[in-house]
Amino acid sequence: MKCEEFEAIGLDAERDASLSEVERAAAREHASTCSRCAALQDSWQAAGVELRAFAEDTAVAQAPARVEMRLRQEFRTQHVTLKVRRTAAIATWALAATALLVGVVSWHSWRRSRQEVAANHLNSVPAANNFPDNNSAIGANHKTSAEVPDGMLERGSAGAGSSETLVADNELSGFTFLPGAFAADTDEAAILHVRMQRSALGALGLPVNEERAGEWIQVDLLVGDDGLPQAVRLPQ
């Protein structure tokens, strides 16, 4: 072993596990024959002793307790914050999901009600279309459901939002025009069911049977838009 080699690997040959036994023996032999390298090794061993003494001084050194305290505090803060964040995130998602659900349900029920209205409308249109004489002498008359006699309620009226329905022309048949009234005046007329004494028919210009003048009868009056009766129909 040469001096350079000894300086590189021989000084600590006994500790260096990567060296082979042959290399260690060579280092020992060199140190025993070369006074310069032997002195170098002595010097290094003396330095080693001092280093170990220095190491011993710091061997029991520990981080101060305040470091642990700070770290634990930080740990708590971090994990509490994480929990709060997680809870907030979950709550936000839950609220969003609820809002979405409410929205979907509302939209669905709105759509359903719209469909029902449309269906009712469609159901009522054929009823009107079945009577091509709608624009005849009497015209398109309106009638409230309250005014429609039992058994004459139009189809699909149950549950419908509208209180007005179209009345078929044949419903207007049987009316007798009062004196001075014209068919043309009945365009916007409405049928009014009234209960009156038979004698009151005289006031409308109709003949009255004196013997039955005190009877109460049900009469349909066709009332014009001026509020005056235009025609009358006596029940059969």
Binding site: D57, A61, A63
Partner: protein
């Protein structure tokens, strides 16, 4: 829940990651002294060492997934993190060597008197240790690291190489150069008092 002392580091770390403070504390207590000693020997500054230890465990706390148990022990991982922090500290304050180290209670240096020497001997020893400490701290960082790991931490060359992230040959060469510089420095310090006493 009580944690068994012998629980493995990775098990403790998993618990700590789930918010188990006790597990984190146990991990800290297991490894803090080694980290602190390494940082103190590298920086020579107890405040810096304290800060480095805190940083190391903050890293572990904030991102425990950085540690991969299949790649080695947690201690080695923490050494690696501490080493990076030390290097950053050195870059930031390349020549910072505090004039005097104070203990927490404000007394003297971090050196602990453990023998029953006479005051004169104690003073001489203390001076000598301060000289050694100064000599170590004056070494260039990479040589200092090799000396601290191999001579002060008493790691094998292989362990030191693993820690420093370099081949064994590099560690050996750094150690060789570090020793040469250290010996020269210590020789110089030894001879100065001698020459001073001869002059007198």
């Amino acid at each position: 829940m009580r944690i068994a002392e012998q629980d493995r580091d990775d098990v403790l770390l998993r618990r700590a990651a789930k918010g188990d403070e006790e597990a984190f504390t146990l991990l800290y207590r297991r490894h803090q002294a080694a980290m602190y000693r390494f940082a103190l020997r590298m920086t020579g500054n107890s405040w810096a060492a304290e800060e480095i230890v805190q940083d190391v465990f903050m890293t572990l706390m904030r991102d425990p997934k950085k540690y991969d148990a299949t790649r080695g022990a947690l201690g080695a991982f923490l050494y690696g993190v501490a080493r990076n922090r030390v290097m950053k500290h050195m870059e930031r304050l390349p020549r910072e060597i505090p004039l005097e180290e104070k203990n927490e209670d404000g007394t003297g240096s971090g050196i602990v008197l453990q023998d029953a020497s006479t005051p004169a001997m104690w003073v001489e020893k203390r001076e000598r240790r301060q000289q050694v400490r100064a000599a170590v701290l004056e070494l260039p960082v990479e040589f200092r690291e090799a000396v601290v790991l191999c001579e002060l931490e008493e790691m094998s060359y292989e362990e030191a190489a693993q820690m420093a992230g370099c081949p064994i040959g590099t560690i050996r060469s750094r150690l060789h150069r570090g020793r040469a510089l250290l010996m020269a420095k210590l020789e110089m310090l030894r001879s100065v008092p001698r020459r001073a006493s001869v002059a007198r």
